[in-house]
Amino acid sequence: MIALRNAAIGIEGRTLIAPATASLASGRFVAVLGPNGVGKTTLLRVLSGALRPIGGEVRLGDVDPAALAPLERAHRVAFVTSDDAPVEGLTARDVVASGRYPFHRWWEWSENPGDTGAIDGALAAVGMDGFAERRFETLSSGERQRIWIALALAQEAPVVLLDEPTSHLDVRVAHEILALLRAQARAGRTIVCAMHDINDAATYADMLMLLGDERMLAFDVPERVFTASLLERAYGIPMEIVRAASGAPRAFAIGSASGAYPGS
């Protein structure tokens, strides 16, 4: 559904990720991992078509997303940014209703039955149907994140990109959000989610894309990505891999009592 073909990712003349090839199939939950500044957000922007790769190509279905008109692109890919511009005076439902923008010509100002179904369905899918008329600014961080995801769902795009949707959330809410995203993948959407918690990623994602050392170090199932050497190379810190009772791999950074990381 969405593919990198020998695509190099960079911004402002600087290469962040050397040419890489990967194919992200429909119905998959892909987690993008890597240290701060490695280019996760830039990669998402390239996948969304907001930015062109500096080499190679990106395919969204059978088209180049960067060549699409903004409206056409919005029908194919939704992007939950980590942008935290303040939102004032809107209800949760108003925010979600913005996802219907691409379905309206400029003179079509009112909500049609299709919009109503999509908006209410999206609110229900993220478990926020009881919050529709709440003012957005009164919601908790986790509730806001659900609303942003509902906005993307209301957009009815087959691909949903998310930039660190769980970064400021407590453990339980983070897991609820990730379970929700996995359910959306099972329902047929392609979910691409940049995130920091590698163990949460291994628990919920079907595929991990590991970025580090200015390249795509791995794009594989969690089982194969969770090796000490790969994770160490990505994050620059020694890692220990253990098995949870469920058999799922878990990785832990090994610090040192002196405060300095061994080998650094």
């Binding site: 969304s48 919005a74 940014t81 511009a85 004032e88």
Partner: protein
Amino acid sequence: MTKVPLRLAGLLAIALLALVASLLVGGSYVAPGDLLYALAHPHANTDVVTILWQLRMPRVCIAAVVGAELAIAGALLQGLLRNPLVDSYLTGVSPGAAAAIALSVVAGIAAPALPAIGFVAGLGTAMLVAAFARRGAGLDAIRLILCGVSLSALFSAVVTLVLTRAGADYAAQILAWLAGSTAGRGWHDLFFTLPYAALGLAFALVAVPALNVLRLGETRATAVGVNVARTQWVILIAAALLAASAVAVSGSIGFVGLVVPHLARRVVGGDARALLPASAFLGAALCAIADAASRSIAAPAELPVGVLLAFVGVPTFLYLYLNMQKVARA
């Protein structure tokens, strides 16, 4: 949310009442019954008909149109820049027009040509500011504000320079314009401004859905398919057309473009579909009443509308705004 249409209807009623009320008052006393008769018989040959249809009606209509234009332009720019401190004149429309008018007066250009000169200069200043504020295909909000403020300062300095060097007759003529006034305006002034107002309004209507989504910020608006760069230009041109055509007929009337959108937002919320008409109705009502007051308070002398608006409007606005905030918090 179902209350919104009702509230819009209420604001429209207020605007119409204000229009009628301001027709009833003026420099010379006329019995309301005679006025109503003249209103119903526009072709009767009486003094009252002349007062109503040639003196008061065009002024009231111009005041209402100008108020609506400034309020809509303010609402558009506040929404585009997500900045509540922005007003209709952000892009230097008013000082640009004022400088051109001042120079034209000194150059001896006849008064009937001044509205056109003011309009062209106001619009031109806005486009100059926009050209400076370009970033990529779109506009940089901060740069737009900074360039608008600096060019405004420059053109205000031009006006001051002209005022200090020009003779007393010229200065009086320029000052009358600067103060913002609808005195002596007639039907031809209204007909001059209406096409540009309509064009500005058309641009504004095109941008309404995008303006609503922009409340989530530019990044998120882009993500749902808003062409942010194009929307910025559409809104800027709409606001510049509306403000320039207002300035051309009434001079520099401040306060309306800044304050009316805030009041309107408190009544109908921030949805552009309701906010733009609500701002228009409130702006029209406010300016019509201010115009009536300017004609009657010190009759037969006239006070400038702009001055009255500030004297009466600012304390009222502060009172309403601060109290409503208290209520909202409680």
